[in-house]
């Protein structure tokens, strides 16, 4: 899908060697896949692979000599029966021919501000620290072998507005302040010619036709792909790199001290505590931004903080502490905002194969239905990135309306696909509740919800009916969508007992939603999983007596390290849980330009 090479092998000195065009074209088609002539690299401006020179350069598809990366002018026989003619001797004599092949360019958008001058680097001329330019070398080994008077024409497809090429500090192709430049012809100056490609936006692409001209006549042509990395969001199988939580200390009964301490003891300096007072006591850090990456084949990585239009207290946090060289905050969407625009309502599955199509980065999903949902510009952008083809789930029945209220993914080495989908389920919760002694006291629920005992919950006929309808009308259908869109079957899904309270704005978890968890799977550590303590017990201090905790442990993959943390006062009663209050940056795993 991504990697595309058009191997038109045409002998450089075809005219001199009296070869036939149709013969050379065939040779190209058969050998091009394995014979890449040049490489573009921001970190390695020199060609790493030399020209491949047909030994005979004549009529067949055999007898090519491939130059090694370390010795670009060495010729070796790679073919079998070599046809010779009166101008060559097969392996030793005669002028070499060249495979007119160049490497595709897989770069990344130049949207950060490496020189910290307050402008995105696209608006600057290239400078030393600007590491987002993909440098492509037209090797002198090829150019210098061209007959005198030869030229190379570079022609750009499309509008040319979203990318551009620099040679020696000048834009020669693509977007400028004026009309885009779509064609540039150069006369070989002697030695390499380096084009520095720059992309304006994520996942923009174009084709570059590189044509060799001899006295104005087209001799040879190659089409290379130029593409900026799509912006790729993270899934829970990627190793965590850094985690964030807003530290809250509003007094004895309104703080997340124990939760943060539990995380800190495991994560150490991999957990960043954000002072609540700096951000208007906004604790919902999951909702404010979403980490993503754009990577280039030269190893470069742009870290993108997708900054929600939510714009509550934490709005300035990305700019304050996350943005810098190779780190940029970008926003898609405008106009009226609502809870669906928060990024608890945006997530990605692990890699899946669906109807024969492999999604190496998983698929994005978010809440949207019936004209409501995540801002359409954000959705359009995510769709435009193609590689994680998004799908929608109906979250409009929830008060908050986020996908993390009923679903998440956890790694599971023993699972057929390497992961499990945790999915909210009402009947399994009532099965637990109905089996418990009705007189079990529930001190945590009494004050905030008016349920002093298990029996008061199970005896609430209105709530039971409400939950039965949620299961039938929403959860069953959403689970079916997950299965269809991700190619899952029942074995891939773990049902998580869940019960919803009915508020005027919609449903919200009554028992803290254990599916709404934080997955901190750092490299070199076991997958630490922080789960809201359900507190469905008489003794709040005794987790071992909690039937929901016992049930959750029994359902989970055994290699997860579970930590049940108190998120009741700060998060749960304000309609969120642990996941909503944390954020995680993750390491990319796969190379998008290598995946089909």
């Amino acid at each position: 899908m991504v990697m595309r090479r058009l191997g038109l092998v045409l002998p450089l000195l075809c005219g001199l060697l009296a070869c036939k065009e149709d013969d050379t074209a065939e040779a190209t088609a058969s050998e091009g896949e394995d014979t890449v002539a040049t490489s573009g690299s921001a970190t390695d401006p020199e060609p790493t692979t030399g020209a491949t020179t047909p030994v005979s350069g004549t009529s067949g598809d055999e007898g090519t000599a491939t130059a090694s990366a370390t010795d670009p002018v060495t010729t070796t026989v790679s073919g079998g029966d070599t046809t010779t003619d009166d101008t060559t001797d097969g392996t030793t004599g005669g002028p070499p021919a060249i495979e007119w092949i160049f490497e595709d360019v897989f770069g990344r958008a130049n949207v950060d501000d490496d020189d910290d001058n307050g402008k995105t680097d696209w608006l600057d001329a290239p400078f030393d620290a600007d590491n987002e330019l993909a440098k492509v070398v037209l090797p002198g080994t090829i150019l210098d072998a061209l007959p005198a008077g030869s030229q190379v024409r570079l022609r750009l497809s499309g509008s040319g507005e979203d990318l551009r090429a620099w040679i020696g500090g000048e834009i020669v192709l693509g977007g400028t302040q004026g009309p885009p430049l779509l064609e540039h012809t150069l006369t070989p100056p002697g030695g390499d010619v380096t084009l520095a490609w720059e992309f304006l936006a994520h996942n923009v692409s174009a084709e570059l036709t590189i044509t060799r001209l001899d006295a104005g006549v087209e001799i040879d042509s190659f089409v290379a792909t130029l593409r900026a990395s799509p912006l790729i969001t993270n899934h829970h199988l990627q190793p965590a790199e850094q985690a964030w939580v807003v530290a809250v200390n509003g007094g004895q009964n309104y703080n997340n001290i124990s939760m943060v301490q539990a995380m800190q003891s495991v994560l150490g300096d991999k957990l960043t505590q954000v002072p609540e007072e700096n951000y208007d006591y906004d604790v919902w850090i999951q909702d404010e931004f979403e980490w993503a990456t754009a990577r280039s084949s030269d190893g470069g990585r742009m870290n993108v903080v997708i900054d929600s239009i939510r714009n509550r207290g934490l709005d300035d946090m990305p700019e304050d502490s996350l943005v810098g060289p190779d780190y940029v905050a970008q926003t898609w969407g405008e106009g009226p905002k609502n809870s669906y625009d928060s990024f608890g309502n945006l997530d990605a599955s692990p890699p899946v194969t669906v109807d024969g199509v492999f999604y190496p980065f998983g698929r994005i999903y978010y809440g949207a239905a019936n004209g409501e949902g995540i801002n359409y510009k954000m959705a359009e952008f995510l769709v435009s990135q193609e590689i994680q083809r998004p799908f929608e789930l109906d979250t409009t029945w929830l008060c908050v309306g986020h996908v993390d209220e009923f679903s998440t993914f956890v790694p599971d080495a023993s699972a057929p696909k390497g992961f499990r989908l945790l999915f909210a389920d009402v009947p399994s919760m009532y099965k637990i509740l109905d089996a418990l002694p009705k007189n079990t006291l529930l001190p945590r629920y009494n004050k905030d919800y008016g349920y002093g005992s298990i029996g008061e919950i199970t005896g609430d006929g209105g709530m039971r009916a409400f939950n039965e309808d949620i299961q039938t009308d929403h959860l069953d259908g959403i689970r079916a969508v997950f299965k269809k869109e991700l190619g899952l079957d029942d074995a891939d899904i773990i049902l998580i007992p869940t019960i919803f309270e009915s508020l005027n704005c919609g449903g919200v978890a009554l028992v803290p939603g254990t599916v709404n968890l934080a997955m901190f799977n750092f490299e070199g550590q076991p997958p630490h999983t922080f789960v809201p303590d359900p507190f469905l017990r008489a003794d709040s201090g005794d987790q071992s007596s909690d039937p929901i905790i016992a049930d959750f442990k029994a359902r989970m993959p055994k290699d997860l390290v579970l930590h049940f943390v108190d998120n009741w006062n700060v998060y749960h009663t304000s309609l969120g849980e642990v996941h909503c209050g944390t954020n995680v940056q993750r390491a990319p795993l796969a190379n998008w330009w290598e995946e089909n």
């Binding site: 509003g250 007094g251 004895q252 009964n253 309104y254 006591y281 906004d282 919902w284 909702d287 509550r312 207290g313 609502n338 809870s339 928060s342 608890g344 008060c399 908050v400 309306g401 986020h402 004050k447 905030d448 008016g450 005896g459 609430d460 006929g461 209105g462 709530m463 039971r464 009916a465 409400f466 309808d469 039938t472 009308d473 009915s502 508020l503 005027n504 704005c505 006062n569 998060y571 009663t573 304000s574 309609l575 969120g576 909503c580």
Partner: protein, 287 residues
């Protein structure tokens, strides 16, 4: 108490009368004790419905005299934003004794914007002290329907006498959102069956939202008397009635699954254009 005491000015204004009357003539709260099962009545320190203003004045005066700091703090308290963005007073802010009366006092002043008034109403069940009678009294004067909806929500946990009286009033509110909320809350109370008659009346409401809420609640409460009316809804194939057919069927099953399984209307519902109804009919017949 959380440290959310930002710069909310304390406007010392007297109780605002006549903010707006949301109750139609003749819908005033019923007299104390009427239709309330004796075993469900729980005074919980509640004053008689008609005396809530005097009661509140006494409570507030006492708090101002005995706990002036608490009074000032609560009057200036700022709610936090829930994940959905709605203002909410944290439970930690409500832990001092007698906070319900102080919330009511602030609510009665009417100086907070509507979302904060709704948050004040929502916080009442989590606060210490009685609140039902005063809340019902204020509900009749509250002009904003969203605030009245929040008030109705808090009646789920109020003492029986004011709660049932308030819900009867709310079921006759001018705004359908309030009527629907009241219908839903009725099914959340253990004494909700005491509201059978007004709930049945709401089956003829001109708001589909209210009819649906009443239908669901009558089903959840298992009100046998609703069976004929709900059965009649199953035959209504007029445009836009699928939701009503679906919830009527569900309510019938909840009231009496065996009786519902034998309804002749189920046969036709197996061919209903709405697949949810087809599935619900199949389930009902399989019971």
């Amino acid at each position: 108490m959380t440290n959310r005491n930002h710069s909310t000015p304390l406007a010392l204004v007297v109780f605002l009368l006549g903010i707006g009357c949301a109750v139609e003539p003749g819908d005033e709260p019923e007299a104390a004790g009427s239709r309330v099962p004796a075993d469900l009545a729980d005074p919980a320190g509640e004053p008689p419905l008609a005396e809530w203003q005097d009661w509140l004045a006494v409570e507030v005066t006492r708090a101002e005299r005995e706990r002036p700091a608490q009074v000032a703090e609560l009057r200036a308290a700022t709610p936090v934003a829930t994940r959905a963005g709605h203002p909410r007073f944290t439970t930690a802010a409500l832990e001092s004794p007698g906070t319900a009366a102080l919330l009511l006092d602030r609510l009665s002043r009417g100086t907070d914007p509507a979302p904060v008034r709704a948050a004040l109403a929502e916080a009442l069940p989590r606060a210490d002290g009685a609140y039902g009678a005063a809340l019902v009294g204020m509900m009749a004067k509250e002009s904003d329907p969203e605030v009245r909806v929040a008030m109705v929500g808090s009646l789920r946990r109020a003492a029986a006498e004011p709660a049932l009286a308030g819900l009867r009033t709310a079921l006759a509110d001018t705004d359908p959102r309030v009527r629907a909320a009241a219908a839903e809350v009725a099914a959340r109370r253990p004494d909700g069956a005491a509201l059978t008659d007004p709930l049945l009346a709401r089956l003829a409401d001109d708001s589909a939202e209210v009819v649906l809420a009443a239908t669901r609640s009558l089903g959840a409460l298992g009100v046998e008397a609703a069976f004929p009316a709900l059965q009649g809804r199953l035959k209504d194939m007029s445009p836009g009635t699928a939701e009503l057919r679906l919830h009527s069927l569900r309510a019938l099953v909840r009231i009496d699954a065996a009786r519902a399984a034998g309804l002749p209307e189920l046969t036709a519902l197996r061919d209903d254009p709405d697949p949810r109804i087809v599935e619900a009919a199949a389930r009902a017949m399989a019971r």
